[in-house]
Amino acid sequence: MRFIEPHAHMVSRTTDDYVDMATAGCVALCEPAFWAGFDRGSADGFRDYFRQLTEYEPRRAANYGIKHYTWLCINPKESEDMALAADVLSVIPEFMDCPNVLGIGEIGLNKNSRNELRVLEQHVDLAASHDHLILVHTPHLEDKHKGTRLILDVIKNDSRINPERVMIDHVEEHTIGMVLDAGHWGGMTLYPESKCSPARAIDMIERFGSDRLWWDAACDWGPSVPLAVPRTACEMRRRGHDEKLIEKVIFENPKQFLSQCERFQVDYT
């Protein structure tokens, strides 16, 4: 089995996790910029983080034969501070030419506030101005349905954005339909306590089809499982799905979306 982990916060994981992922067949992973668990004090903190994502983490992954790609932004959890967001947005272009940067992400909303929306619009403008791919984080729990609708409106209002170049992550049963209907890709995040279980993720593939969908572990410093994608593939096999469909969901689909950025290359055959 080979798979792409399209959303993993490896800066918060141990080297043992890289070993396990490589052993399970991970050939490439993508690491979106995210919240550190505390608010950074300045744009310089983000500059250091972006160096970690573009210099250090790719080397750590390469030790285990895994290609490492990344997405840059200020996470919506820190977007309430408009001044900090403006400073960070000015830093991002310094890193956009790094060879492992795929686009802008994970942008989006957290509590669906007006400032978060403004910073989201600024990120979308940055992506549209440079024709970057976009990876979107949708809010948690009770805020997800409303936030997803607000996010889709922001993207729809920018006519420069091709919907097929936007991945809306963390979809669940109440948001997957509107994301696919808008022409975007949808990501299902496999978490042990929230978001989506393996059984529900497979249910959604069975109900909505396998086009424009991927699974990810989003493994970070909270309860999360770096091997969630291959484990869900095993669960799909238990249901009797054929290997071709499984490979489509865990390898071909993320490859198709991510290859819209020419930097994304997986030479595994």
């Binding site: 007006r114 948690h140 009770e142 049963e173 249901r239």
Partner: protein, 91 residues
């Protein structure tokens, strides 16, 4: 490919049974405890009612029962986290 109902039961009944008993025990635990509950318990009980409906969209219905139904962005994010149920207050 779709599983037969028998296969779904074979594969998932024990897991669902286990989770349902956990829900029952959670409600018993809340009942035994002292003090007032908050909006989350009402939301939970309302969501449970969605399980009785027919059709095959219960997961969507339960998720919507916990969701903020308002449409306008809030004025300011007062914190980072989500608690799992809408407070019922327009912010």
């Amino acid at each position: 490919m779709a599983m037969t109902r028998q296969k779904v039961l074979d594969q998932y009944f024990m897991d669902a049974r286990h989770k349902l008993i956990d829900v029952a025990a959670f409600l018993d635990r809340v009942e035994r405890a002292e003090g007032d509950a908050d909006f989350r318990l009402d939301a939970f009980k309302d969501a449970m009612k969605r399980l009785d409906g027919g059709g095959a969209d219960r997961a969507n219905d339960v998720l919507m029962a916990f969701s903020d139904p308002t449409e306008e962005p809030i004025n300011k994010a007062s914190g980072k986290g989500a608690c799992g149920a809408w407070t019922g207050k327009v912010e």
